[in-house]
C-alpha cells in the first residue's frame, strides 16, 4: 500500500516528452482558465526538443534490514511500493552507450530521487545530497535535480550509479534519468522545477498572505453580537486557519531539513492537510450562513473528532508502519468533505448568495483536481506527477478576496443608504419641528390676543364704559349742571386716550407713563390754577410691569390726580418719582384740604387699593389739611 500525502509534491516522469505533452494539455485546458495571472509565467517555459536519452533499465541492489537483493528493473522505482513499511538503501546501475563522444557539456536531469543520494558517472562522484546512513534525516527527494556532466567524463560505454537512502513513507526512490546536451536537459529540468519548486513557493506565499490578511480581518472587524458583546466573524478565522495550514502543507516541498525528524514531520503534514480541509469546510459553512444551525454544530464536532484522530492515525501509519490507518483516515475525511461539498454545491445551485456560489465554483474546481490527485496518488499509485490541488486551492483565496470586497461594497452601500435615510429623516424632523413651532407660535399669538381682548374689555368697562354710564345717569337725574356733564364726558375721552396710550407704553417705563399722564391732563391742570411741580427722575424700567400692570398703574395715578383736581382745592401739586432701595417710588403731594385717610374708602380709593394689590404695589395715603401724600411703591 502506498503512503503518500495528497499535497506532497510528487512527480511522474516516464519521459520528458510525456510530461511536456501533459503539461501542454493541462495548461490549455485549465491553467489558463484558472490562474492566468498567477501562473502566467509558466507559459514562458519552453522545452527544447533535442535528442534526449531516457534511461529506465537499471540493475538494482536493494538492501533492507541488512539483506541485499539484486534485480533488473525498470525505473521509476518507488521505494514505498516495493518495500512497504521498510527503510533501506538501494544502488542502481544504469548503462548507456554513445555512438560518438559529445564535445559540448551534457547534463543529467532526475525528476525525483532520494531521500538521500549519490550520483556517480564512470566512477566519478557527480553529486551527493544528504547522508546515506542517516535514516529519517533530511529529505532531498522533493525537488527535481540537475547534474552537469563534463564531456570529458563521457565514453562510448558509460555506467551511471545512483545510490539512495529511503525512509518509510517518504516517497523515496529513483525516477527515470534523462540525459542529453546541457541546454535541452536543463530546460526540461527548469520546467519541472518551476512547477514544483517555484510554483510551491508562490502558492505558499499567496496562502500566507491571504491567511494573515484573513486573520487580521478576523481580529479587527468584530461585528456587534448578542448581549452587547462584540462577536468576531468566524468566517475570517476559518479562512485564515485554512490558508495558513495550506501554506504549511505546500511549503513542505521547499523544506529539505524539517524542524522535527521524520516520521513526525510527516504527522505534521497530515495534520496540516486535515486542518486545511476541516477549516475550509467550516469556512464554507459560514459562507452559506449555516453557522448557527444545530446541524452545523454537529458537523463541526465531527470535524473536530477527525482532527483529533489525525495525529494518532498519522503517527500509527508513519511511525508504526501501518499505512492503512492513514488511508482509512483520509477516506473518512474525504467522504466527509466530499459529502459536504456535494451538499454545499447542491444548495448553491438552488438558492444561495453570490458569496456562496463563488465559493461553490472554487470548491467544484478543487474537488475535481482533488479527485484527480487522489486517482494519481492513491488509486493508481505512481511515483509521479504533480498535485494540481495545490494550484486550484488558490481559488479559495480569490474567493475570500471576493467575499471581502463584496462585503466592503455592501457595507459602504449600507453606509450610504444610512446617510441618505438619515438626511431624509433629519429634514423630516426639521419640517415637523417647524410645524410644531408654528403651531406653538399660533397658540401663543392666540393666547396673546385673548389676553389683549380681555384687557381691552376690562379697560372699556372700567374707563369709558363707566364714565358714559355715569353721564347717562347724570342726564337722567336731570339735576346735573352742564359743566358737570361736560367734565364727565371729557373724562370719558381722556380715559379713551389713556387707554390707547397705554397700548404704546413700553412695559415697565414708569417715566413714560407719568409724562404721558401729565401731557394728557395738561389742559385740566392749566384750567385748575394748580401749580404743578415735576420731580420725575429718569427711572430704570421695572421689568415685572407688563402692559396690563402699566394700565393699572396708569389708572391709579390718574385717580389720584383726579382727586386732587376735583376735591383737594390745592394750589400746589408735586409729582415725584425716584428710585429707592425699596423700589420705584411715586408720590403725589398736594397742599389741599385733605381727607380722612382712615374713613371707609370712597369708591375711587377703593379701586386704587385693589389695583395696587393686583400689580403688587404698595399704596400709602397720608392726609392732613395742607399736606396730603399719596405714595405708590413698586418694589
Amino acid at each position: 500500500m502506498t503512503v503518500s500525502l495528497g499535497c506532497t509534491a510528487t512527480f511522474h516522469y516516464d519521459a520528458a516528452m510525456m510530461a511536456w505533452c501533459a503539461d501542454r494539455l493541462w495548461k490549455s485546458a485549465s491553467a489558463r482558465w484558472l490562474l492566468p495571472v498567477l501562473l502566467g509565467w509558466l507559459a514562458l517555459v519552453g522545452v527544447a526538443q533535442a535528442e534526449l536519452l531516457t534511461l529506465i533499465e537499471a540493475r538494482a541492489h536493494v538492501t533492507v534490514n541488512g539483506a541485499t537483493t539484486t534485480q533488473n528493473l525498470q525505473l521509476p522505482y518507488h521505494w514505498d511500493r516495493f518495500n512497504k513499511g521498510q527503510r533501506g538503501e538501494a544502488v542502481f546501475d544504469l548503462q548507456f552507450d554513445l555512438p560518438e563522444r559529445p564535445t559540448d557539456p551534457w547534463g543529467m536531469y532526475l525528476p525525483r530521487l532520494g531521500n538521500a543520494y549519490e550520483i556517480w558517472l564512470n566512477g566519478t562522484l557527480l553529486q551527493r545530497q544528504g547522508d546515506l546512513l542517516n535514516y529519517n534525516g533530511a529529505d532531498y527527494a522533493r525537488v527535481p535535480r540537475y547534474v552537469a556532466i563534463s564531456p570529458a567524463l563521457l565514453q562510448s560505454s558509460n555506467l551511471i550509479r545512483v545510490a539512495i537512502r529511503a525512509d518509510v513513507g517518504r516517497r523515496g526512490g529513483l525516477s527515470a534519468l534523462v540525459l542529453g546536451p546541457q541546454e535541452a536537459v536543463h530546460a526540461a529540468y527548469l520546467h519541472s522545477y518551476r512547477w514544483r519548486g517555484t510554483g510551491s513557493l508562490v502558492v505558499t506565499a499567496f496562502s500566507l498572505v491571504v491567511g494573515l490578511v484573513a486573520l487580521s480581518l478576523w481580529f479587527t472587524q468584530p461585528a456587534p453580537g448578542l448581549a452587547g458583546r462584540t462577536r468576531r466573524d468566524p468566517l475570517y478565522l476559518f479562512a485564515a486557519l485554512a490558508e495558513l495550514f495550506w501554506a504549511l502543507a505546500v511549503s513542505d516541498v521547499l523544506i529539505e531539513k524539517p524542524p522535527v525528524p521524520w516520521p513526525w514531520w510527516g504527522v505534521v503534514q497530515v495534520v496540516a492537510l486535515g486542518a486545511w480541509g476541516v477549516n475550509m469546510a467550516l469556512f464554507c459553512v459560514e459562507v452559506a450562513g449555516w453557522g448557527r444551525r444545530p446541524a452545523a454544530l454537529w458537523f463541526g464536532r465531527w470535524l473536530g473528532l477527525l482532527m483529533a484522530a489525525s495525529v494518532g492515525m498519522a503517527a500509527w501509519a508513519l511511525a508504526g508502519s501501518q499505512p492503512l490507518a492513514l488511508t482509512l483516515w483520509y477516506g473518512l475525511l474525504g467522504i466527509t468533505l466530499l459529502s459536504f461539498g456535494v451538499f454545499f454545491l447542491g444548495r448553491a445551485l438552488r438558492q444561495a448568495s453570490a458569496m456562496h456560489r463563488v465559493v461553490a465554483v472554487a470548491l467544484l474546481v478543487n474537488v475535481f483536481f482533488g479527485l484527480r490527485d487522489l486517482y494519481v496518488f492513491r488509486i493508481n499509485p505512481t511515483f509521479a506527477a504533480n498535485t494540481l490541488l495545490r494550484y486550484s486551492s488558490l481559488l479559495f483565496g480569490l474567493a475570500l478576496g471576493y467575499i471581502v470586497i463584496a462585503r466592503f461594497r455592501a457595507a459602504s452601500a449600507q453606509a450610504r443608504d444610512l446617510l441618505a435615510t438619515l438626511a431624509v429623516r433629519v429634514s423630516q424632523k426639521e419640517v415637523e419641528l417647524a410645524e410644531s413651532y408654528r403651531t406653538l407660535e399660533i397658540l401663543a399669538r392666540e393666547q396673546e390676543r385673548t389676553a389683549e381682548r380681555t384687557r381691552i374689555l376690562r379697560d372699556m368697562h372700567d374707563g369709558v364704559g363707566s364714565h358714559i354710564s355715569s353721564a347717562i345717569r347724570q342726564l337722567q337725574s336731570g339735576r346735573v349742571s352742564q359743566a358737570e356733564l361736560l367734565q364727565t364726558l371729557r373724562d370719558t375721552l381722556d380715559q379713551l386716550k389713556l387707554s390707547i396710550d397705554a397700548m404704546n407704553l413700553p412695559p415697565g417705563d414708569v417715566t413714560a407713563l407719568l409724562a404721558n399722564l401729565r401731557y394728557r391732563l395738561a389742559p385740566r391742570l392749566a384750567a385748575s390754577d394748580i401749580e404743578l411741580q415735576w420731580g420725575v427722575d429718569l427711572l430704570a424700567p421695572v421689568q415685572r410691569l407688563d402692559a396690563q400692570a402699566m394700565r393699572q398703574l396708569q389708572f391709579m395715578v390718574f385717580e389720584a390726580l383726579s382727586n386732587v383736581l376735583q376735591h383737594a382745592r390745592a394750589s400746589v401739586l408735586r409729582i415725584e418719582a425716584t428710585m429707592t432701595p425699596e423700589g420705584t417710588r411715586l408720590r403725589m403731594v398736594d397742599n389741599g384740604c385733605g381727607f380722612d385717610a382712615t374713613a371707609p374708602l370712597r369708591k375711587g380709593l377703593q379701586s386704587m387699593r385693589e389695583r395696587a394689590q393686583a400689580i403688587g404695589a404698595t399704596l400709602s395715603l397720608h392726609s392732613a389739611p395742607g399736606r396730603t401724600v399719596v405714595e405708590i411703591l413698586i418694589s
Binding site: R490, L493, L496, K497, I500, D501, N504, L505, P506, T511, A512, L514, A515, N516, L517, R518, Y519, A522, P523, W534, V536, L538
Partner: protein, 235 residues
C-alpha cells in the same frame, strides 16, 4: 393780514365747529372747507387759490388726510398743515409729522384752543407729546448706533442730498437733550429754565425737529428705494 385757513373734514357738524373756531380769531380767515381728499386736491390745484394753514382730518371718505398734506406741500410750499386727531395717539401723529404736518389739534379741544394752536404754530411753536418725543429719540438712536456704518453713511448721503436746507439732518445734541426732557414729561417752560434758554428757543428746536422728521421720512424712502435697487445708487 390774517392767515388763510383751509379746512378738510368730512363730518359736517365738526367742519362747522372748526370753521366757527377759525372765524372767531381776527388773525385767521377761512378760505374754504371741504369734506374729501378729491375736493381738497382740486381746490389746491387751482392756481388762483392761496392758503397758509391746512387743517385736515386724517380719516376721510376717499383717502387719508396725509395725502392732502403731501399734496398741499407740493402745491403750496408755504402752507403749514395741522392734523385734526381724535386721540393724538403716537402712530397717527408720527405719520402726520412725517407727511409734513407741523402740529395737531384734538377733536375735543375748545374753540379757543383751536385758534390758539393755529396761531402758535404760525408763530413757530409745535406741540409734541412725551410719547412722540420718546419714539423719535428711539428712532434716531437706532439710526445712529445700530445701523452698519456703510448703511448709515449711505443713508446720510441720501438724506443730505435730499435736504434742501443743507443743514445737518440727524438730531443735534441740544435737540436730543430737549427731546429727552420732553419724554420725561417736562414742559417747555421747565425745559427752558433747566437749560437756561428761552421758551422760544425750545419751541424752535421742536419745530426744526418736525421739519427734520418730514425730510427724513422722505430721505428714508429714497434710501430704502436705493437699497432695494429701485433707484440708482448715489453713493
Amino acid at each position: 393780514m390774517a392767515w388763510r385757513v383751509l379746512i378738510v373734514e368730512d363730518d359736517p357738524p365738526m367742519r362747522a365747529f372748526f370753521a366757527a373756531s377759525v372765524l372767531r380769531s381776527d388773525q385767521l380767515s377761512l378760505v374754504a372747507s371741504v369734506g374729501t381728499v378729491a375736493e381738497a386736491r382740486a381746490w389746491l390745484d387751482d392756481p388762483a387759490h392761496g392758503v397758509d394753514v391746512l387743517l385736515t382730518d386724517l380719516g376721510l371718505p376717499d383717502g387719508s388726510g396725509l395725502e392732502v398734506i403731501r399734496h398741499a406741500r407740493l402745491r403750496q410750499p408755504s402752507c403749514e398743515a395741522l392734523v385734526i386727531s381724535m386721540f393724538g395717539d403716537e402712530d397717527n401723529v408720527l405719520a402726520s409729522i412725517e407727511a409734513g404736518a407741523l402740529g395737531y389739534i384734538h377733536k375735543d379741544a375748545t374753540p379757543g384752543d383751536i385758534a390758539h394752536s393755529i396761531l402758535e404754530m404760525k408763530a413757530g411753536a409745535s406741540p409734541i407729546s412725551p410719547m412722540i418725543a420718546r419714539r423719535v429719540l428711539l428712532k434716531y438712536l437706532k439710526l445712529q448706533s445700530n445701523q452698519p456704518l456703510a448703511l448709515s453713511q449711505r443713508a446720510e448721503v441720501a438724506i443730505n442730498k435730499e435736504a434742501d436746507s443743507g443743514g445737518r439732518n440727524l438730531l443735534s445734541g441740544r435737540e436730543q437733550e430737549v427731546l429727552a426732557l420732553i419724554a420725561r414729561g417736562f414742559s417747555y417752560a421747565e425745559i427752558a429754565r433747566l437749560k437756561a434758554v428761552t421758551v422760544h428757543t425750545v419751541q424752535t428746536h421742536i419745530k426744526n425737529l418736525y421739519g427734520k422728521l418730514a425730510v427724513h421720512s422722505k430721505s428714508e424712502a429714497v434710501f430704502e428705494a436705493t437699497r432695494m435697487g429701485l433707484l440708482p445708487s448715489q453713493g
